[in-house]
């Protein structure tokens, strides 16, 4: 077990470096030169300078900023290593992500690590509630459909899940917004709290809850259909196993057969969905957050790409990549717990 995890971790680290390298190289293609911009701006603010003085001053500042930002070389590998914090800057200091310097957001005028946590918390909050609601609905539904396969109830559910599965999530959100906001006027259209309000304590909590309810409902409905389908399919597969026939032949009650024998087998394919879903909540739901103006990770990323806030983009990419790899590891380890046949000692 320990050896397996160590192996996986090593592999993870390798992939992490590979992906961040690719992304960093992409990022290098961006026509942004922070040192140039800063030096240029600073020279602009200076007065009483002749053209020549201005030029020399600019050169001087430009070099200083380049050294400060570590862009005083054209070697892309050095740039990458400096960004990681594995290669010293001009002044001999290491100052990369391993030292905790993830960059500076020009859009927020704050270090990116200061901006991200509140967004991450928002996304996580709404995501976890959604995930619990989704699993609470879909698992019983999927099991019931699989057990009563081809019954009227099953066909009915299948019909609706087919529609839901085929509908891009943003259309579901549009329909919900139109129905709940424009027709029923039940919920506010966007935002996290009533604009201009200074509620505190209980009032504030209610206000936030009122704003968050519709996004949560939307997000839940957006993923109901596909998970119900997966749950039903894996349960049908599990029910056709030989061990189920044996269990029934033993005279076990139908309840025991379904919930302890079949469900245990059906859980294996579900594991990646459940765990992946929980990790996915941290990454945020981009489309939903954009439509509701919900300050989560997705909106943060989208705004960063729109305003070309490159340090923010890179940091979020690092988080996304890390989350993806880490959730894969957790899924593989969970397989071993859920399915005793999967041995991970190798």
């Amino acid at each position: 077990m320990g050896r397996y995890i160590a192996k996986r971790l090593l592999y993870m680290i390798f992939v992490f470096f590979l992906l961040t390298f690719i992304l960093f190289m992409l990022y290098q293609l961006m026509p942004a030169n922070r040192a140039y911009t800063d030096a240029h701006n600073e020279v602009q603010t200076m007065k009483n300078l002749s053209e020549e003085e201005r030029a020399t001053k600019f050169e001087e500042l430009y070099l200083r900023y380049k050294r400060l930002y570590g862009t005083d070389t054209d070697n892309k590998l050095v740039l990458y290593l400096r960004w990681l914090g594995l290669y010293p800057y001009y002044n001999g200091e290491f100052n990369g992500i391993f030292e905790g310097n993830f960059g500076f957001s020009y859009d927020y005028n704050l270090p990116v690590v200061k901006v991200v946590p509140s967004h991450m918390r928002n996304s996580f909050l709404i995501g976890v509630i959604t995930e619990i609601a989704v699993l609470g609905v879909t698992i019983p539904l999927g099991i019931k459909c699989a057990v009563k396969k081809n019954s009227r109830f099953d066909r009915f559910t299948q019909f609706f899940t087919l529609i839901g599965f085929s509908t891009p999530s943003f259309i579901i959100y549009i329909v919900f917004i139109v129905f709940f906001c424009s027709i029923l006027h039940l919920f506010p259209v966007s935002g996290m709290k009533t604009p201009g309000s200074t509620y505190t304590g209980w009032r504030n909590a209610v206000d936030v809850l009122w704003h968050v309810t519709l996004p949560t409902i939307c997000l839940t409905f957006g993923s109901l259909a596909s998970i119900t389908r997966i749950c039903r399919a894996s349960m049908i597969d599990a029910l056709s196993l030989d061990c189920i026939r044996t269990a029934r032949a033993k005279g076990l009650t139908e309840k025991t057969v379904i919930y302890s024998h079949a469900w245990r087998n059906a859980l294996v394919p579900m594991v990646s969905i459940i765990i992946g879903g929980f990790f996915g909540t941290i990454s945020g739901a981009m489309i939903l957050e954009t439509m509701f103006g919900f300050k989560g990770m997705g909106l943060l990323f989208l705004n960063a790409t729109r305003t070309a806030d490159y340090d923010m983009i890179m940091f979020l990419e690092v988080i996304y990549t890390f989350l993806g790899l880490f959730s894969n590891l957790v899924i593989d380890l969970t397989y071993g717990i859920v399915d005793p046949r999967v041995r991970i000692s190798k």
């Binding site: 992939v15 087919l162 943003f170 259309i171 549009i174 981009m286 790409t305």
Partner: protein, 658 residues
Amino acid sequence: MEKKKKENIFRKLLRWTVRGLMGQKYEEKWFGKRERKEVVYKNGVPDDSELIVSPGRQIFNRFMERKFAVLSVVVVLIMFAVVFIMPHFMTKYYDAFTETTQKDLPPTMSLMKVPKELKNNIKMIDSYGSFSVGLSNDGKVYIWGIGKLGATGLNVMDIPEEVKNAKIAYVAAGQDHVIAIGEDGKFYGWGSNRFGQFEATEAVLANPNLEPVPEIVRNGELDVSHIKKVAAGFQASAILMDDGTLYIWGNKQAYANLDSFIGRTNILDIDFTLNNVVGLDSRQSSVVTGKKGLYDMVRTKIYGSKAVKMKEFLNGRKILEIRATTINVCLLLDDGTVALTGDFQYDNVEVPDLAAGEYFVDIEAGAYHYSGLTNLGHVYSFGGDHYYQAEAPVVNGAKKLYAGAFQSYAVDGEGKLLNNWGLKGYLFGTDDRGANIAERVVAGGRITMTVGAIAVIIEIIIGVSIGLMAGFLGGWVDIFLMRVAEVFSSIPLYPFMLILSSLLAQVSMTTDQRLYMIMVILGVLGWPGFAYITRAQVLVARESEYVTAAQAMGVKETRIAFKHILPNIISVILVNMTLSFAASMQTETSLSFLGFGVNYPQPSWGNMLSRASNATAAINFWWQWVFTSAILIFTTICINTIGDTLRDVMDPKSTNDK
């Protein structure tokens, strides 16, 4: 002995058509009895004890039993045919088309529908943008078309009570207002008054950019019997008396030369282009605009003639009438010919050559087109033809002609409507740029489906070859390739797509290149799924006897992989291809919706919906997203149904009877 001819595919198709359309009787009469193997079906599955059916045939048979799936196949095929063939017939369609006066119109077919009460009793008709106003001989006002003005809540179709009760002598339609003058000289107006179109409120009087309605008009002191013409333009209106006195008012910012017409008393004709007031003064030798040189180059044909200076062109002839569309002006001369001045955009119908002895007696102008009435009672249209509004039908005995916006109406001496032609309306409404949504749905479908299909093809090519290699070669190649697949599948799609999109936005790209980029990215990020499936299938197939036999016979490994194994796993790939096609379409629409996929002006089913992310727009302009998303959902449902059914019927374990 007669040799039985083997039926070729065309003969077969013909035979099926005959059977489908005319029945089995005719089929047998013309094609002879079919040789039929009697297949015994048991529970819908061919009974193996009687006859052995090939697996492909069996799958086909089982598929054909699912009515919903067969229907889906038909729907998807029709959809493909529509989106790939229809654009060739939409000759007037182009991506970046905009038309301000037609924006945000709901689905309607009523733009040219003259009310029944008015049909035999027409006194005059005037249109602007999306609505037309008509006046009957007994002085009643009728309005048809779309009178709702955007999201302002104003509706020009709400005719004020006093107008309904009064006997009206003249009406005219402006961009967002209607003016009317009663038989007793009383002046009425309704619609938007933001620019003082019909009422001199305090705000209007205080605004130096607005010219208020002249007092004499407001007080109803006009002598109706001496009114020559009532005209309304974008945000201005004018009343012309037969002694040449002109009353003109409205937004001076929309019509910069409006000032030069105030208080004129020598005007014979007046009209409005989009930005200029054009008039004809008593000299009848030039288009009066108040600006020197504007509308001074005249020609007789739109394309086929050279423009000459007005003075040279007229050569003593006099101008009788001037009529203006959005940007150009048409002149009717005293010898019955027409002359044009100003620029012409795309898509025009040329001025007709009249037969000897026939000459124009009246010209009317729409938004881009002109319609002319001749002395023989025939009508002709020319000018802008984007909505086919310049394709006049054959009309005999027309005495009067009215044109406005994109429609023309030919009327006989008693006021009976003889014929009308032009823009009827929009099946799915128009979008915020005035483009026809129905056309954009078709053009957008072509792009969405192409992107989906090409992305899937790229996925299959990469995924299947890597899966085949990994599964067949095994060993370190397998491990390496699977690790690569893992890396690709752990790239988060949306962030990656967004970053690439914003990156490539810095590089100047044509819209087509952008489209290719989206296809390639979707394909390159999506292949691991196919690789996993192919590899798993190959691992199973490798152990089967036919592969061992091939290996024993010394067949080359690549040949085994592509000629022996691939055909056996193609069914699984087919299922995944279908499902992945739907998924790619969804990804593309989501990306385009966010603004990172296909961008305007190219339509896609995703970016056509992006306006609906605004709740107010989504409810006010419901037709802008309802139809497009319904078609998108319907198509994906059908594709997914096909995929699901294929998977079901290919799975030997599943049976039809539960």
